[in-house]
Symmetry: C2
Subunit: 231 residues, 2 copies
């Protein structure tokens, strides 16, 4: 068949494409956390001379035998010690000049974790939580990446039960509302918020109350089992 003649095997294709194997691929994680009623992002001081003094997202090159998600989990694990965090792919960034070391295409992920509950081993003293509003300039195109991840987070937060990853297992409705408010950058009506949440049917009433407060304690809730992500 004429058709047969044109077919190449994977092996022959690999050889003819060797030229192209000089692009590196990385993952970058925008790790959002929530603490003291504020959304924060975990950043590390850049170790590249070109970006001296600037912070950057946590990322690493993808290993040849490693799935993209596996790479991102590895980055998270290496940097935070955690492997049960929420992680979602957002977008690839691949401008030619985005990395001074050469051609590096990066796949951006965002990740959510509860800062106060997990005690991070911030092993590295150049690794810190930064309030969203205080972040100005970042290394590489990381500011743009951060913005696109924040945008995605805002889209998802009312649709999907993801916000709970920022909170401890037990939380009050006020806690929950405050997280929404800080992500969306708006303030919400308490009664309407409670109605909207109760319609979604995400919450399990734990029959427990807040304690150690100098005012009337609120009920504690948890995310229903069926929405808890399996690691």
């Amino acid at each position: 068949m004429a058709n047969e003649l044109k077919l190449k095997t994977a092996e022959s294709e690999k050889i003819s494409h060797l030229d192209y194997f000089n692009i590196a691929v990385s993952v970058d994680c925008v790790i959002f956390g929530y603490e003291a009623k504020e959304i924060k992002v975990l950043l590390i001081k850049s170790d590249l001379k070109e970006f001296e003094g600037l912070y950057s997202l946590l990322g690493d090159l993808v290993k040849p035998d490693e799935d993209l998600t596996k790479s991102s989990y590895r980055v998270l694990k290496e940097r935070t010690g955690l492997d049960d965090v929420y992680l979602e792919q957002v977008q690839a960034f691949g401008s030619v000049g985005r990395h001074p070391s050469g051609r590096v295409i990066t796949i951006a992920y965002y990740s959510l974790l509860d800062i106060s509950n997990h005690k991070l081993k911030l092993s590295h003293n150049e690794l810190h939580w930064h309030s969203l509003k205080q972040i100005k300039k970042l290394a590489f195109d990381h500011k743009k990446i951060l913005e696109s991840c924040l945008h995605r987070l805002r889209e998802q937060v009312m649709e999907q039960p993801v916000i709970f990853n920022l909170l401890p297992e037990k939380f009050s409705l006020r806690d929950l509302q405050e997280v929404y408010e800080s992500i969306l950058g708006v303030s919400l009506d308490r009664r309407n918020f409670r109605k909207k949440i109760s319609v979604k049917d995400w919450l399990q009433d734990l029959n427990e109350m807040e304690t150690n407060l100098s005012h009337r304690p609120g009920k504690l809730y948890g995310l229903k089992k069926q929405y808890q992500r399996k690691v």
Copy 2:
């Protein structure tokens, strides 16, 4: 400074990372078109022996000096002769085993074009439009990629004025409604549809009517200038 000691230059980092430059990056384009009241996808017969007989999306490896979007436009141009089409990045796919030739991470794009208006030079006789419903198995993980692009298209279609890329410059409200219906896979009420569209204020009344019909002709509309994408 202790700090200074740890800084590396981009050049030194490049060398130490050479090991990682053995992942290839490709773009794959899900090119949606609309013809005969149906959504179609442009596919090509796979030229890999491993996928003999199967069709695949149009894609190519990204060149080291080429932005991701530039790559996708190149694929489109090479395959369709068109360079004024809508293009949007959807997601990266990077499982280790997804490509038999080696490690290839692909960035998926979707693209929209009006089949009947643009006269494609389907230069290659293994390149054809396929109705969405008829597509069963595709080479690589392309079925999964197609599905995620379709999903994204469905999300965008009511939010953003993108659907017009599937239609000629002048169209009737019925034409428009039919495209929505075939993308969303539902049938819509004519009156409610018209109301919903008119609220968005995307359309320019062209003061022209359909012609050559054996029934009452409808008004023709175009997308307002301010929403037409600049190529």
